[in-house]
Assembly symmetry: C2
DNA sequence: TCAAAGTTTCAGAAAATACTGAAAATACGA
DNA sequence: TCGTATTTTCAGTATTTTCTGAAACTTTGA
């Protein structure tokens, strides 16, 4: 690996972190490299920078594309494929959330729905099913909320986040102001 | 593995999911088993149910305890250790969020802070540093927001989530009502 | 203090995953 | 069409991770 020290530590950190996230080291490193790069890179640039094999790079880029985390583009007069990450960190964040939703949450919800449908035989299964239902309700609520949040524009979202727990107070405030909060959703309690 | 089919599919699913989350199969399976069990289980119960070795069970339970995802208790007149999961799914969710924060987010923030402090040498490093700063700001904002949310009581939290994107409208409403929203945070442009 | 019951550690085996180089496939221009 | 530049695939190898059984350790009651 032959990179400025500042960039190298960033790249190495993402490589290590990969294992916590179920992605492999090379994928993490390549993503990090593209993220901080000031220009799109081709596969050979990456091999040069990271020090992995050409084929490994090819695999990793394919995976990053499957996650929609990198963009593929061509430079005029150059046949090679160049890769870069989206500029907007919020957009990246949303993509990550969407993909994890699709890969991890959806299959779990499907499994839970199936299990909850079954007729339980015996007390153990009855209890298990009740627990699965609790989990199902929670995941579905959080999921829908995330989907709602994803669709907000970044400005509103930042405002909301900076507000933090104050939002609870605002909620109570609007509540006492004539139940505006409940007017459309109508689902409290 | 010798379990009612309904419970078995749940346990197996969590085992598979483990790899997406950086935990191993046995840990995932044991957690799932404890989650749906209607009584605390001891290590031998678990070996019997899952079909793994005694020592593997011991390791997995230690890891689950490190994550604060299982409770250890003793039954009167029995020297063995019994394990169970907290009942409240919200509490579980919050514990998970806290632990991931501590294990994954904090180290990343530390690394980023270090990198941002350095004096860049050359344009490539300057650009990289700017990108790292964007990432740092985003993670810190989301982190603080999560911490705020964690501290809400469950009732308010559920209300907030059910409200979903409506919250954006409420925000604008309060905004026009005299900038209550901005009063305490004071950070909006 | 000893013996019994229970738990943890750890070195090595087994399994899973990541990585490589060579060969095949593809895309492109002449 | 051919030849070159580039990317992808794949079988085998290396590395990492998980799992096991035996041994060591701990706790408790007599």
């Amino acid at each position: 690996m032959n990179l400025p020290p500042l960039i190298q530590s960033f790249v190495l950190h993402f490589g290590e972190m990969g294992s916590h996230w179920g992605i492999n080291r090379t994928v993490g490193q390549i993503y990090a490299l593209l993220y901080v790069s000031d220009r799109p890179l081709n596969a050979d640039d990456i091999v040069e920078a990271i020090g992995c094999s050409r084929s490994n790079t090819s695999m990793a880029l394919k995976e990053l594309q499957a996650w929609r985390l990198v963009k593929l583009q061509h430079l005029p007069g150059d046949r090679r494929e160049y890769f870069s990450t989206p500029e907007d960190v919020w957009a990246i964040f949303k993509t990550l959330a969407e993909e994890r939703q699709k890969r991890e949450v959806e299959p779990t919800l499907t499994m839970l729905r199936g299990a909850i449908m079954e007729t339980p035989s015996g007390e153990a299964e009855r209890h298990a099913q009740a627990r699965m239902n609790e989990m199902y309700q929670l995941i579905e609520l959080v999921t829908k909320w995330f989907a709602d949040i994803r669709d907000m524009d970044v400005e509103t979202l930042e405002k909301l986040m900076k507000l933090g727990s104050q939002v609870g107070k605002v909620l109570q405030f609007t509540h006492s102001l004539g139940r505006l909060a409940g007017r459309d959703s109508g689902k409290e309690d």
